[in-house]
């Protein structure tokens, strides 16, 4: 039984909710949005590796990566999901730099751009997966 479809909606939902909270925080400046964003982001970042791991188990290991065929949607699903993970990891590392000048507009723009890029890549990965499963 595939496990990846069971797990993958947790990071998707949590990271999407975190993105919404991030926008709300930037729009309103209210502290409670930041707390919610951090909570959703933490759940999403913890469940994302589980979903990735389950995906590789479901596809019987690393064969699609070690022997990629670039006309296959599965390969592009993996590429998009990996890029999404990279975007979120970059945001995670970037936002925790001790030398980061927080509170500037550039900081806010970069934060939102990284989160938006990560979420959009997740949307892309999900759309490709949807075509694989439901497409005709």
């Amino acid at each position: 039984m595939p496990v990846h479809p069971i797990l993958v909606h947790f990071p998707l939902a949590m990271l999407a909710a975190a993105w919404v909270c991030l926008l709300a925080r930037n729009a309103t400046g209210k502290e409670q949005w930041r707390q919610r964003e951090r909570l959703f982001e933490a759940i999403g970042m913890w469940t994302l590796p589980l979903a990735v791991l389950a995906g590789f188990i479901d596809t019987r290991g690393l064969e699609p990566v070690t022997s990629p065929r670039f006309d296959e949607p599965l390969v592009w699903h993996i590429v998009a999901a990996t890029a999404a993970c990279a975007a979120y990891a970059a945001r995670f590392v970037w936002s925790r730099q001790p030398t980061l000048a927080r509170g500037t507009r550039r900081w806010a723009v970069t934060d939102v751009m990284l989160a938006t890029a990560g979420l959009w890549l997740l949307v892309l990965a999900g759309a490709i997966a949807g075509e694989m499963v439901y497409g005709a």
């Binding site: 039984m1 595939p2 991030l22 926008l23 709300a24 925080r25 930037n26 729009a27 309103t28 400046g29 502290e31 930041r34 479901d58 596809t59 019987r60 064969e63 699609p64 065929r69 670039f70 006309d71 296959e72 949607p73 592009w76 590429v79 998009a80 890029a83 990279a86 975007a87 970059a90 970037w94 936002s95 925790r96 730099q97 001790p98 030398t99 000048a101 927080r102 509170g103 507009r105 550039r106 723009v109 970069t110 939102v112 751009m113 990284l114 938006t116 890029a117 979420l119 959009w120 890549l121 949307v123 892309l124 759309a127 490709i128 949807g130 075509e131 694989m132 499963v133 497409g135 005709a136």
Partner: protein
Amino acid sequence: MRRRLAVPLLAVAVGAVFSLPAGASLRQIAVGNFYFQDETVGDGKIDAQVGDQLRFNVLDGGPGTPHTVEVDELGIHSGSLGSGETFTTPPIGKAGTFILYCKPHDQRGHVTTLVVSGTSITTTTTQPPTTTTTQASTTTKPPATTTTTARPAGAVSSSSPTTTAPRATTTTAPPTSTSGTAGGSTAPTAGGTDPATGTSTTTSGNDPAPGADGTAPTGAGETALAPTGRGRVDDALAGPDGTNLDALLERMRGRQGPWTRSLRLSLAALVPMALAAALALRRWPGPPPADDAEA
């Protein structure tokens, strides 16, 4: 300290065109509002080999606008097909280029070309002692590819979009000799013989009698890879076997594979996302309280 973080860019690969295995296959053709499309190729033109079967899966079409599948030269007439219905032809036994059209909508451009390559098959049957000879009637390369193959009854597969099997032309009658050329193999056949009467039936797969509304053309069932005639599209739309990596990998490949539309949909989704982000940043009230020092 300024840092720029590059946003990853995605490149979209154009799929390669894969050669299909030799032998008869069951080809899945999507039928929608004014199109016919090979689901594994998707270039609009329908290519097939002699002996192939075509399964037309009607994906679009309201109750008031049913489609039909018509190939006059091959005697293929499906009758009205609503959304969710399929029509599976008998094996095609005639090479050539044919007009494939939808009768209610051909004036609106619901027409395409069916190109059948290979060697046409003709079959003749004589009375007992009967010898059925199968021979090539036209010449193409490789010459004379007609195959006479014994296949157990029930060895029919219908689920795979590219099911392959030896192209078969059957026929027998007791006492029977069956001739054909396929790498020197000749075998008596079970298919095509009525066990009750011992009479012979001949299936050539070509020029099937025009089917009545939705019925399979006469004599097409014996060598078919899949049941002919009408059916439901549900099977064709079923998802891949989640435990089968090959099924996942082989699905929807092609130059215009349907999965590529996910990129367009995602780009469309990016627009409201970017607008929402821009709107939020536009309303940015200024530096938040000193709560970001959680590093």
